[in-house]
Symmetry: C2
Subunit: 348 residues, 2 copies
């Protein structure tokens, strides 16, 4: 796919904790920083909002961000902001999706409107883990609670293609998450995945939870249940430990003085572990990329989400993934339509 | 079971990183601190060692701590120190096991010699997670990579009984690890386990990885694959973050001064997250308890492991577990021998 001169990102702003105005500020900042290379189609309750240059407002007050059953809600609520935004991407009015609502709703709307990319078994939710000095991409963090080995192989390719673009890593080292580094460790499915992953360029074998923060792997693949537990455990531990350091630094006059002196040095660390800089979770394996910033993100987080989404379009993450899968013979076979493959939306 | 006046712990010291002499020092300290209430049977290469009061040395130079296939090694190596120590427990010469070798070898030798407790499907490996202010017990952390819902129910009872004793919690709150708090989240097995756990006293529902450090649950149950990933992820994140704080505190003269002033306050935190204070991983579901200190532990860690093992004997963790399982109707049924149940070793 030739690089596009101008990229349009469809943004669903309903559901963001700080409200659509905050998301709109982020959208405006992203457009301004792009010097004309980026436009935003903005879906939300736009009452009282004024569009900055390069942003088109679409009044879409219906939200399914809190729907208990996102898949059913996405199908039955065509006017929901996230469904409208996903449709804009599917129709070609936009090139990528950013949704400030729930991950479940974004995934459901994307599967429904944007659809899986050609040859993909299952989309996956990937997250760049902002561990100091050694960020890495973890997937699946929740799109599929149970997966087969061939899904993990595809996740490896999807994650590698994305990390080339988002983390700027030339030859990503890909690892399988397990309870030991040996090929014989893990459940039967994990062992089968280890064997199947042998053909993936950059596969370095299995890693344990210890690998976090060591820089051993750039991409770690696992099922969406384990990945979700791992992701949230990292957040839990991180918040408990940094909270304990903060408490210790307030425990005495001496400690307070120490904390003040240390503050500038710790600021760099704080910035490094700030998840919003990576834009949020990423839906991979669709015909276009979707980014799901955390609902708590402010303008800066949404700006980054939009920029990351635009980057995946410019660097053609979807096409790179297809090329990798094709070269590895890891595409999902669809015998009935093999002779006339459906056009990829990204070729349109 | 009546409280025992004197408890004997069988200690396998082969495989400990710092060698048998370091383990022996820990054993001596545990015995001395007990004022006669504790004895140790010490299995290792005892060349050059002198037994402190209350410790009996058994020269057992053969080690299977590094065996690639622990189960086969435990069966085929009767003179291995861990097998001899486990046999001493099975024979009644000792009341609990502590092994400084590999977890796999300790589990294999225990299953082989000590055997599962009556009515237990599967033993589990439990670990007290030393998160600041809110330690909790996590199981299974690696004994069973795949489990059925009824196993998780038993883990809940085993973990609750142990945490009553080891963490001194009167009515432990037990949670199921999942990728969401709703009963409908997780794999099919996790959902089935959620339903089956409803009858467990203290069951508070499902928790996510976020629960770490919040004090929400005293016991978290999961399969041994997810638990192992979670445990090692916590160690990885913890070490990466504390390492980054340390690096920041050395990054400038100002930061160094701050670090020095903060040091005393952070020392308390460091002690709180020190895993050796909890003695190590614990094998639950056997006729006697086994404690597996980390191979890197020094004398203090082994002392604590021996003390924790003795505590489980005095407070009858095995009997408490049986009582809980029986009251909940959660014992494994063995139709063929139901009329003549095998005597529990602890009744001997």
């Amino acid at each position: 796919m030739p690089l596009k001169d101008q990229v349009t990102v469809a943004v669903d702003a309903n559901g963001a904790d700080l409200g659509p105005a905050e998301v709109l500020a982020g959208a405006g900042d992203a457009v301004a920083a792009s010097h004309g290379a980026l436009r935003v189609l903005f879906f939300a309750d736009t009452t009282g909002l004024t569009a900055p240059d390069g942003v088109t407002l679409v009044h879409a007050p219906v939200s399914i961000a809190k729907a208990a059953e996102p898949a059913a809600a996405a199908r039955s609520t065509p006017d929901a902001s996230v469904v409208q935004a996903a449709k804009a991407v599917a129709d070609g009015r936009a090139d990528a999706l950013v949704s400030g609502g729930s991950t479940g709703a974004a995934l459901a709307a994307s599967l429904f409107a944007i659809k899986r990319a050609r040859g993909i078994h299952r989309p996956a939710l990937a997250m760049t883990i902002p561990i100091p000095a050694h960020p890495f991409l973890l997937l699946d963090v929740g799109a599929n609670v149970a997966v087969r080995p061939e899904h993990l192989v595809q996740f490896a390719h999807m994650g590698a293609a994305y990390s080339e673009v988002a983390l700027g890593i030339e030859k990503p080292r890909v690892a399988l998450l397990s309870n030991g580094t040996e090929a014989t460790k893990g459940t039967e499915d994990v062992q089968a995945a280890h064997a199947a992953l042998a053909g993936v360029p950059g596969f370095i074998g299995s890693v344990e939870g210890f690998a976090v923060g060591t820089g051993k792997a750039d991409v770690i693949v696992t099922d969406g249940f384990t990945g979700n537990v791992m992701l949230k455990t990292m957040e839990g531990v991180s918040s408990a430990l940094l909270g304990a350091v903060r408490t210790a630094a307030l425990s005495s006059v001496r400690a307070k003085a120490g904390g003040l002196l240390l503050k500038p040095a710790l600021r760099g660390l704080r910035d490094e572990v700030e998840p919003s800089e990576h834009g949020g979770a990423v839906l991979l394996g669709l015909r276009k990329v979707g980014v799901v910033p955390h609902g708590s993100f402010g303008a800066r987080g949404f700006q980054r989400a939009i920029e990351v989404a635009a980057k995946t379009v410019r660097a053609d993450v979807v096409g790179r993934t297809y090329t990798r899968l094709e070269a590895a013979g890891a595409l999902r076979e669809r015998p009935s339509v093999a002779s006339a493959p459906a056009p990829m939306v990204s070729d349109r």
